[in-house]
Symmetry: C2
Subunit: 283 residues, 2 copies
């Protein structure tokens, strides 16, 4: 197949590297930064460059921030081949899906919302790695009327690139879950790091502090956009966590030993019950 990638940052770059190292597909790449496009081409990751070449693509992967993703698809709507599949990879799915689905339909192009459950606390092409998706879940939010063969083509592509599984869901359920599993984690991490005593952490920290603050090293431009496009679910999640922390605070200040132990026990049992297989790639 011919696979086009718009945006050669951490995600798009890692897709280009995974395609080159794990498949025999041809890759077409575009980045608004010509220097990045050249570097990817010179590294042998791309067979062709430029949006005008997307017309050859059987599958187009849009690896841009949400707003840029919608703009790119709108502005280049005629660049996508009839019968091809377009998958955007940004981290919110309701808004993007609502904005573009009807654009593609009359053109015979299948749009699928996607979200690779993989990342690093770094961004840009330089941070991209071919193993980023190994063992990870690829979320797809296809329309209910999707052609089964078309969906299978997309699923097989992601499995060939290293993903361990495909998670099919709706844009709404995606956004609800991602508010909890990813967006809230990034906010907690950022909030945690912004503490009056953080500068004195050295010598007083072990693994839990490193874990808690790892993703505070985020790209504030992308995450601001993602958070605001998922404000309803995300603020509900913040309410849940703040409420839970307030309960801990109450038990601790009031010396409610039994209740505190019970609350900690419940957290431990929940964590132990989770069937966690995914391990981030060692770099």
């Amino acid at each position: 197949m011919n696979i086009a990638i718009a945006g050669l940052g951490l995600i798009g770059g890692s897709f280009a590297k995974a395609i080159a190292s794990k498949t025999r597909h041809r890759a077409i790449g575009y980045d608004r930064d010509p220097e990045v496009m050249r570097r990817a081409y010179d590294a042998g990751l791309l067979d062709e460059v430029g949006v005008e070449r997307f017309t050859d693509a059987d599958v187009s992967l849009i690896a841009l921030y949400p707003g840029a993703s919608v703009r790119f698809m709108r502005e280049n709507i005629d660049a996508f081949k009839r019968g091809s599949i377009v998958i955007d990879l940004c981290g919110v799915k309701r808004r993007v899906t609502d904005d573009v689905t009807e654009l593609f339909k009359p053109r015979g192009v299948t749009y699928i919302g996607g979200h690779p459950m993989a990342g690093r606390e770094l961004s840009g092409f330089a941070a991209s790695i071919p193993t980023l998706f190994e063992g990870a879940s690829m979320i797809l939010t296809p329309g209910a009327d999707i052609d089964p063969d078309t969906l299978k083509t997309a699923e097989n592509l992601f499995l060939a690139l290293g993903f361990a599984k495909i998670t099919l869901t709706t844009p709404d359920h995606h956004d609800k879950m991602i508010a909890f599993t990813s967006q809230l984690a990034h906010i907690v991490s950022s909030a945690y790091a912004q503490n009056p005593v953080v500068g004195e952490f050295d010598g007083f920290a072990a693994g839990s502090f490193a874990d808690m603050t790892r993703v505070a090293k985020l790209n504030e431009h992308m995450w601001t956009e993602l958070f605001l496009l998922n404000a309803d679910y995300l603020s509900a999640q913040l309410d849940v966590l703040i409420g839970s922390l307030a309960r801990f605070r109450e038990y601790i200040t009031q010396g409610k030993e039994t209740e505190l132990r019970e609350l900690l026990r419940r957290g431990r049992e929940i964590k132990e019950s989770l069937n966690e297989n995914y391990k981030p790639p060692a770099v």
Copy 2:
């Protein structure tokens, strides 16, 4: 030297294993569970067992929960040799130091509060490993009147066991910092896991979720004790974090894009500014 260890759980067991694998010191061990004591002895980690043998020790390490640690030192006060050093390793230092310092003084025994900045989300002798302390910081909270040679003996012992550095501080500053770097992280992790949608996480999670919930798998008996003995500093830390999360919530629900981006930028810059060297041991 002869080194006694009271409590052969994750920390005490790891000290026994580190002493056996990295030094030529003799080890004396005690655990309230005779079966654990036998296993450590049979594994060749201990030269002698039983509290009554602590009288031979030049350094005694007390690796028990805070309350049990104080009780052990009180009840066995005559078991510690004149001129020897006793170091308790539990995770709060004000209360323990206040309770035992004056007990030891008239007996010519030097008490030092200690806290190894290392751990695993597991507990008990079976989870102990000889490399637990590698690269970690060993916190010591000696009295202002400590003999410099005695302190040097203790410092050298910990450096020989794999610690990368010694952090000298007061019990008060220890408890203040640990409320932030460790205790708060364990509460956030437990609170994070206790979410109505957590059961549906599978397929929607990547590294940030795993990191955020790792230490929810804690020992609720030990941590309840630690939290309640540090309630003042810990509740202050919970207030800071809840306040910070509430600000994020405000910016997100009110669509304050500039303020949100600025807040995230600050978190990123803080995280990037931290000089983090410690990596938990790969097991």
